[in-house]
Symmetry: C2
Subunit: 222 residues, 2 copies
């Protein structure tokens, strides 16, 4: 029996390309021989730590990204909608509370299911329903939809702003920087004791080739 290849996914719910990458790798988890590790991290910290600037600084990039994301949304079949005020949502409000909350979900969980489901609900809130992801009430709503119990949510709300969770998120973000991140999603594949790093949601075909698996398009089970 071949042991599974470990694939780490670094992502932030504020990043629409993260959502595309997240959904695609979740679909492949059952198709490829991989052990997927979710690494919720803070994109703001990666941008600062790498000295990278948001693509929103170049007007033509923003226009292209709009078009690119709409086409990818349809092709990848991910129900993405632009929030009415993307600058306010991404840059002013930001994703720090949401990523701390996910860090806490992962801390409390013995497994991957809850962090995946709460992540998806947070992606949906920001990139489909245009709802807040910074207030405790918003985080609770996402957790309820993800199927967490009232007592679990209560515990998470006490935990997510603790120094321990802040430190853990910082440390995950630092791990991403140590792998060379300058944006998200970042996929780190551990193959033959080597880490192969892929940036973006547009390297899956190349990644499949590098890890000895087959790319079957964004919807492998269709």
């Amino acid at each position: 029996m071949t042991s599974k290849k470990v694939v780490e996914l670094f992502y932030d719910v504020a990043s629409p390309y993260s959502w595309l990458g997240f959904e695609v790798i979740c679909r492949y988890r059952n198709v490829w021989n991989i052990d997927l590790k979710f690494r919720p991290a803070f994109l703001g910290g990666v941008m600062k730590g790498s000295g990278n600037k948001s693509p929103a600084m170049v007007q033509k990039k923003v226009l292209y990204m709009d078009k690119d994301l709409s086409r990818l949304r349809d092709y990848f079949n991910v129900p993405m909608q632009h929030p009415a005020d993307p600058i306010g949502v991404i840059f002013n409000k930001g994703s720090l509370p949401a990523m701390r909350f996910l860090t806490a979900v992962q801390e409390r969980e013995d497994g991957n299911t809850k962090v995946e489901q709460v992540s998806r609900e947070l992606f949906l809130r920001i990139w489909n329903e245009d709802k807040d992801i910074t207030e405790p009430g918003s985080l609770s709503e996402a957790a309820v939809k993800a199927g967490l119990s009232e007592s679990e949510i209560k515990e998470l709300l006490e935990l997510y702003t603790s120094p321990k969770m802040k430190d853990k998120l910082r440390s995950t973000t630092q791990d991403a920087l140590d792998y060379g991140a300058f944006g998200f999603p970042l996929l780190v594949c551990h193959v033959n004791s080597k880490a192969e790093v892929f940036f973006g949601s547009d390297r899956f075909e190349l990644m499949a080739h590098c890890i000895g698996e087959k790319w079957l398009g964004p919807q492998p089970e269709k």
Copy 2:
């Protein structure tokens, strides 16, 4: 009979991702129902005109690009090698004479063959052989390898620095900017009287889907 879809390829030989995109679309020209138009343009003008900055400004991007290009080179089967001094080659020497020369090749040619072959020889000089592409002697060597005659080359060397060719290159570069370019390669697909614009050498699968063709990987005839 369905008429062929027109696909314009804007590229600059100083851009390694342009070379990947150039080779892939050349391979698909005979597989897809497309009429490929080469649009040699000046990347420096596009960066300036769009206010975009080179990825070389962010150290982590440079390190990632190195790795990404090596992996893509193998997967795409394009014989790319890093020049010993990439900054000197790309930023200090630049590609303006080479792109003017290609503009002249296209001006003199009734067809696509010569501009394709001379482009490939120039890509090879910079990204495989680490040779100059700014001196008239260098441009001649590329043209000889591409199979152009002595008299054709003599004519091109008289033509390529003329105001007419400078203007033509500027105008092609402006066309790219008008399509929203902030880097190369840029592929513009004319489908149902609409222009669908794709940036980079990593959107071919999506592009195929949008123009009703099939993506068969970077080597469709293998």
